[in-house]
Amino acid sequence: MATVEPTPVRSGRSGELGLLILALALGLSAYALVGSTLDGRIPGNFYRDGGIFVVVTLLTHAVVRWRAPFADPVLLPIAAALNGVGMAMIYRIDHAHADADALAGKQLIWTLVSLAAACAVLVLLRDHRTLRRFTYIALLVGVGLLVLPLVPGVGAQIYGARIWIHVGPMSLQPAEFAKIAFAVFFAGYLVTNRDTLTLAGPKVLGLQLPRLRDFGPLLLALGASLAVLVAQRDLGTSLLFFGLFVAMLYIATERSSWVLIGLGLFAAGAFVAVRAFPHVQARFSSWLHAFDTDTFNAVGGSGQVVRGLFGMANGGLLGTGWGEGYPQLVPFASSDFIIASLGEELGLTGLFAILVLYVLFVQRGLRIAIGTRDGFGKLLAGGLAFAIAWQCFVVVGGVTRLIPVTGLTTPFLAYGGSSLLANWIIVALLLRISDNARRPAPLPLRAHGPAAEPASARTIELPRPDRAEPARQARGGAS
């Protein structure tokens, strides 16, 4: 009989507060620098807007303390840092367009809404496993959200892509929310069917293939969403869902054959898309021949990407500094191409820092998945974390001409209410799952009354000495 002293689980809340203060300082000093460079003084609304941002972020921190005290302490500060830096850049580009505060003000409101939504998720969703009950509802919601922009009267075609809906005065991109719905559906569906998917089915050329009736609903969901997306001409979201799907399937089944099948499907899909759709073909050729004069000047050609590259080159290693570059020369400098804007003014160094923030965020997300006990939580956390990583890759890869440009927003940084809201909900979900993962289960000895316990009595006797994680130890003791 071995005795194990369980180390008390640190909630990490004070660490989170410290990091959050750093993150807020980053965003606020960026905001102040933009003003001092462009106007010679800090922005007029600095104290009001900065104050609002600080207060709502700290309130969110308080809600985390209250409702998810054991949640991962790094996610919230990273998201807040990116959100703050993004708003500073949006303000800076507004300023260059002599339209002070136009988008930045809206983005601040969206930040408020998003943080409120994140708090609401933390308060209302006490256990992420509740979501598993909504597996098929999530599928319906996801497909519904994707179809919505095609509905006459609701949908709107903006910049050639029919991916927007009008709700009152706002336009929303429902696909951003469909991302979460599909992650919930995939997680719920795969955790139930992973064994049949993995084991039952014919073996072809050494690859374990699934039975059609197990695989059918997944394929249907994915095919429908991809078809709708192709119809809406939104390649970015289509690519995003495809990546999410393959990654979650791989997590669930642990079979690399699925990845191969996924890549095969992707290659086939890409080939067909390039052949069949002129706009995909145009995207592709403007990627390959970006610097050709014809491609550069063509409407929807490579002009935007190449102008973004010009901006990044102008930034060089150290950047021009806040307010010193010309990011406004790139179309969509504050949304799709905000990475090019940041690359210009903060340089390669700043861009590296931002990308490292994303890496940290995603790695924390995947660690949450690893640390979670239930399969649904693992899949959901892994899927959501990977979705953020994949979205970054697709959009930053497009801007840096690593891959063709697709229309996607950079999570937390880019202007766009739907994206901000959806990604903050993802933060809330990850916080919720990590809270469940790291929360110490009620100790068995508490049954005797915690107040009466001498400190030495907190040792737990375990049936067998293994290297189980603290959480498992506690559970083992309880059973």
Partner: protein
């Protein structure tokens, strides 16, 4: 499910490594070519949006940046535009740049690699890159004298300091106003630029160092005489055939002297006298006696067929290849296919003045930081020794006689011995000849050499000779320098 999650996190790392690599490639490796792309308006904005150093002549700014209220932040301005246009060139947001604005651009905008140490110090001190002031070698008095003396005639004047190679005056006419092109309004500037391109006399061309180049006429006899003296076969007293006509070998064409007649009643004339009165028949026969190879070698030793930058690019003067005897005779008197720039002619005179050593001409005297401390100063560079000191002193004496008692009397300056050579270059049939004069002074202690060309005789037209039209201009420039 933990194994695939761990693998997935490796995949995520790989994806981000790819992004970091792509960003590094764009912002570091590819950045120079992206920054140089003509479609990149940032380069323009950065260039025009930052302070640009002035061009300075004798302590006065001849091109400077003033703060402006528009998007660019600075407006380039030229206080004495036309007189200095050949040197300064223009600096235009719309049509680019020329002259020193172009060829000293990296100094003026502060990006020159040659000043890396100063730039490094600025970086360490946390200062923004600054444009340097470029002080020119131009002598304001000489420039003014050349500008005034040339008047409304087309042509060019170049003066160089014989002891250093510094260019003291560079005038080209017709000139233009660089302020017109430095304006920021695209449509206006384009209109003016098109008008200048179409204008009669190509005002945008700097005739002193470029353009179509000129036939040198008799000023080339200095090169022919150099070759003859350098060969050792001839001296100043060698007797040449100075008859009234020289039949070009292999043809029936007879070459005559200017104004007809023989150069000497005896038909024989010394080399010195032939140069003094610019005897065509004597020099034509001398050319064939020396031979085209020796002529070409001498011309090249002086800098013909060699590119040069001061730092404005100088069109190489040409001595043709593969000549027959008739063409050699014509080339020896600076006709045929020989072409020169006024700067090259001034360099020949300056070399004779400097005892046979040719110095590299230059326009940048010093480069200074905005607080006027000198970061670089041009020191004289030797290009070569085309002629021996003995030949140089012989030629000096011969050129003195041209001014005292020959074709160049109009270049006389009281109290100063001037050495010179005139030239009257035939161009196309029916058109008045170009009037040339090159000189240096004082002959006993040379300081300044000058070359003047007046196209098609200027105001004098077909009656023009180099001695009558160009010599007074050369005299004015020499006097302006010596009177300092």
């Amino acid at each position: 499910m933990n194994t695939p999650l761990r693998r997935l996190s490796s995949v995520v790392l790989l994806l981000f490594v790819a992004l970091l690599a792509a960003a590094s490639y764009v912002q570091f490796v590819q950045a120079p070519s992206l920054n140089a792309d003509p479609r990149n308006v940032r380069t323009l904005y950065r260039e025009y949006g930052s302070f640009r150093g002035p061009l300075i002549v004798d302590g006065t700014e001849v091109a400077l940046s003033k703060p402006s209220d528009d998007a660019f932040g600075y407006q380039r301005s030229y206080p004495d535009p036309e007189m200095y246009a050949a040197v300064t060139g223009y600096y235009s947001v719309v049509v680019g740049r020329s002259g020193m604005e172009r060829y000293a651009n990296d100094l003026l905008n502060g990006t020159s690699d040659s000043l890396w140490w100063d730039r490094f110090q600025q970086l360490v001190a946390g200062k923004d890159p600054q444009g340097y002031s470029v002080e020119l070698t131009i002598d304001a008095a000489a420039q003014q004298a050349a500008w005034d003396a040339l008047g409304d005639q087309r042509g060019a004047v170049v003066a160089v300091d014989t002891r250093s190679g510094a260019i003291l005056a560079m005038v080209s006419k017709p000139s233009y106003d660089p302020n017109d092109l430095a304006a920021h309004k695209t449509s206006t500037v384009n209109e003016r630029y098109q008008a200048l391109l179409a204008a009669d006399g190509d005002p945008l061309v700097n005739r002193a160092i470029g353009g179509d180049t000129y036939p040198p006429g008799s000023v080339f006899k200095l090169v022919t005489a150099s070759a003859a003296l350098q060969s050792g076969t001839f001296t100043a007293d060698s007797a040449l055939d100075g008859t009234d006509g020289y039949t070009l070998p292999g043809t029936r064409t007879v070459l005559h002297n200017f104004g007809g007649g023989a150069c000497a009643s005896s038909g024989k004339i010394s080399l010195a006298d032939a140069l003094r009165i610019s005897c065509n028949t004597a020099f034509a026969s001398l050319g064939n006696a020396v031979g085209q190879d020796a002529l070409r070698a001498q011309a090249r030793a002086y800098g013909f067929d060699t590119s040069l930058s001061v730092p404005l690019p100088v069109t190489p003067s040409r001595f043709p290849e593969g000549l027959d005897d008739a063409q050699t005779a014509l080339s020896a008197i600076g006709q045929g296919s020989v072409r020169v720039t006024p700067l090259q002619v001034a360099m020949v005179s300056a070399t004779i003045a400097n005892g046979g050593t040719e110095l590299e001409p230059y326009l940048v005297k010093t480069v200074r930081t905005p607080d006027l401390s000198v970061v670089s100063r041009t020191s004289p560079t030797t290009l070569g020794t085309p002629i021996s000191p003995a030949t140089a002193s012989t030629l000096t004496a011969m050129m003195e006689q041209v001014v005292t008692d020959g074709t160049g009397t109009a270049a006389r300056i009281p109290g100063v011995t001037v050495a010179g050579k005139s030239g009257t270059a035939e161009t196309t049939k029916g058109a008045a000849p170009h009037a040339w004069f090159t000189a240096f002074a004082p002959a006993d202690d040379p300081q300044v050499a000058v070359a003047v060309v007046v196209e098609h005789g200027g105001d004098a037209g077909s009656e023009a000779t180099g001695g009558a039209v160009a010599a007074p201009i050369a005299r004015a420039v020499l006097k302006a320098v010596l009177d300092r």
